[in-house]
Symmetry: C2
Subunit: 451 residues, 2 copies
């Protein structure tokens, strides 16, 4: 419990109140100052001062008069700005790269995608390719007046406590890769060097063909701070970011605050959300569901153990159990999600595929029942490839949970299927930047800031 001194507490209170106002606007989409004051429990005068500051930071905008018929005299409605500060998300998959820019409302305004055999390339090359996509979406965002204030990268591996290093990503062959600094260096190479102030004057459309996002109208003059290579870069595990996307975009409102999110691409990953926040564990490794033992003496797993869940419900294990050759399946349906689509198509006609998926569901249910007994979530949410295969997985999952969660009634609906889809990790990455702005609006430089 940190001490409360008056100065620190006032700065903290101002930051907290700015954030409260911003969250109130985010929660309503469009809302008057008076309604904000009623919702957050501050005086109208205090809210007006806070709103002025948020307008000057470019975080809020005014959207004409509120509808007549609401209480009090009509006021100007506040909305989150759809220009200015934005979130940039990027993703390193085993077979692809992606990047996108979202505005403060969470709307995707630019995106780029590329197939990429990342498993066969050194990390420097992978991150140089990613930097190319990042520059491309930032340029597209700048044309719409958006200025990324941070970058979050989703990786298929463990990040741990140092947010700049991938500790291990087995499916990429990465160990202790400083992906944050490598991406910063790659962005510096990909961006034209910072020159003297030469951007268009603030307010004119930014269609500068150089695409340097520091030339965007809201970004101020070019400087190292305004360049992509000057932005803070965070890395996070794709399963963590998928779970956050589910929390923020999954349409559960505030009802679902404590859940276990399970997704599968090449591996199986899970993430725990507790009271609306990601639960990372002591070393940042929480959620390693793929290596929970299903049968103590089961098949050997590349991790070194035996009988891990991935040996029963991982993509390759299911393909083999269905009598399909994983390599041939990948050739038949290339690109991310191809093999999952193949399984979904074949399940309609091939009983061997249905049987393999049912057995995978039972193994998932077995591992999940242990996790549910220990962690006691409201729900389990199936994301990524598991969502697409849920019609065939759910019966096995639910039957094991019903049988093995015995300290209470485990209702069937407590296993939900994600509506966010395969883009969960990328959307979670971009929105995590936006959330950090909503949580601490003072982290954004004022538009006028010349530095």
């Amino acid at each position: 419990m940190p001490p409360v001194s008056t100065a620190a507490s006032q700065a903290g209170m101002r930051r907290r109140n700015l954030s409260l106002v911003l969250h109130a606007v985010a929660g309503h989409g469009e809302i008057s100052r008076a309604a904000v004051a009623a919702e957050v429990g501050l005086t109208r005068a205090a809210v007006s001062t806070l709103v002025e500051e948020l307008l000057s930071l470019g975080l809020l905008a005014e959207a004409g008069l509120t509808r007549p018929g609401t209480v009090g005299r009509p006021g100007t409605a506040l909305v989150l700005s759809d220009r200015g500060p934005a979130g940039l998300g990027a993703e390193v998959g085993v077979d692809h790269l992606a990047a996108c820019v979202v505005d403060l409302r969470g709307k995707v305004r630019a995106s780029a995608y590329a197939e990429a055999p990342n498993r066969d390339h050194p990390p420097e090359r992978v991150l140089a390719d990613l930097a190319g996509l990042v520059v491309r979406v930032a340029r597209e965002g700048a044309a719409a007046g958006l200025r990324p204030v941070g970058i979050t990268v989703a990786v298929p591996g463990l990040v741990g406590r140092d947010p700049g290093t991938v500790e291990r990503a087995s499916n990429l062959g990465w160990e202790q890769v400083p992906a944050g600094p490598l991406l910063t260096a790659a962005l510096a190479d990909a961006e034209p060097p910072a020159g003297p102030p030469a951007g268009p004057p603030a307010g004119t459309p930014a269609d500068d063909p150089s695409g340097n996002p520091s030339h965007a109208p809201s970004a101020g003059p070019p400087s190292s701070a305004g360049r992509l290579s000057g932005l803070p870069i965070g890395l996070d595990n794709e399963a963590n970011l998928g779970a956050l996307a589910e929390l923020w975009l999954g349409g559960h409102d505030r009802g679902l605050r404590h859940f276990l999110h399970v997704s599968a691409e090449i591996g199986i990953g899970a993430a725990l959300v507790v009271e609306g926040r990601l639960f990372r564990g002591a070393h940042g490794h929480a959620g390693e569901l793929g290596h929970v033992p299903v049968r103590p003496a089961g098949p050997a797993c590349p991790c070194g153990a035996r009988g891990c869940l991935e040996q029963y419900a991982g993509e390759e294990a299911v393909l083999r159990a269905a009598g399909l050759d994983p390599a041939r399946a990948a050739a038949e349906r290339p690109g991310p999600g191809g093999r999952v689509r193949l399984l979904a198509e074949r399940a309609g006609t091939d009983p061997a595929v249905r049987r393999a998926l049912h057995r995978a569901g039972s193994a998932l249910g077995l591992a999940l029942s242990g996790a549910v007994n220990v962690f006691d979530p409201q729900k389990v949410v199936l994301g990524g490839g598991l969502a697409e295969l849920s019609p065939w997985l759910l019966p096995g999952i639910e039957s094991e949970l019903r049988r093995r969660v015995t300290d209470r009634h485990w209702p069937d609906g407590a296993v939900a299927v994600s509506s966010v889809g395969r883009e969960g990790p990328l959307l979670g990455a971009a929105n995590s930047v936006v959330r950090s702005v909503l949580d601490d609006p003072t982290s954004v430089r004022p538009r006028e800031d010349p530095s």
Copy 2:
């Protein structure tokens, strides 16, 4: 995030600063006002005002001058009071009852214990017997000038979100038992009726043979609020309270903040501590390690599932695997912990007992490796009967964890043996009352309060 209004924030800040000062004193045992000010980052004037309030609440006391040689002029040392507000803990076991009073320093000042065949008695009878012990320790505490400000009861079952009801305690045969209200009623029956003010004048020794703790010097005149039946009563699962005792009393200082505590008596229970707080889960059921599946098609468990951990590492399962009859063992070593002591004694000479304990350790390691993969704790701590049997259990536990926690190095020392012992749940119960006082000193009525 609740809104921050000025009045609410000032009341909250006062409460928080009172708590900071109290925790600073608790952390040092004996400390000057100046040192408190330096530690919590408030001015000396502010600390003096807070200390006056804590002295008047009977939470702090002065202990003569601080040692010369410390910085600044000598001041009066502050200590937590060893009179006045106190915590009362109680425990319902399958075969026993217990109660104790601890002072604000966490020292046990009164305790009582009784063997009791609670499995065969209706809950009303069990709680009436417990009320007898509670009255006895409260009387003993009152003689030492201690006034319990709350009661926490450890139960071998699930409490859930309503802190007054035991949802289920299979080993007692309890389902939805309102144990809180039942104990309040039993205490009202066990205490003499509240009469007109008749206690000894404040300051005289309280050796009133009626033993009514409302007659204690610091408790003010007798009134329903000063009676045991007027105290707030909380229930909690014994495994949760054992984990909290480990956190508060286990000698880990502030280094161990995120761990999985496993204990076993008749059943196997676990509890998760996250950032120094108990993690309860969405329904208050977190930590049901005993029903994590070890082998999907293993022996049937009374819970309805198959292959649960309790069927491999529960007390009766181990006795049977060792060729011992559980009922005969209980007759041979009656009382709580008797069968565990029997196993520990026999392990020295009987290879069948050693083999059974090794297999139990492997099963524990298997279930724990799943929990560690999902929850990522700093350590696993073995408490209760598992601590006594740890010499024979640890090899199996550690070998499974080493083999199955593969996302990082799992060091041998990461499985620790509790030093708190079998009294963990009772000590956790009593200290949880004390902690609630340290966390919110304003919850304590002033000694002068006539209500």
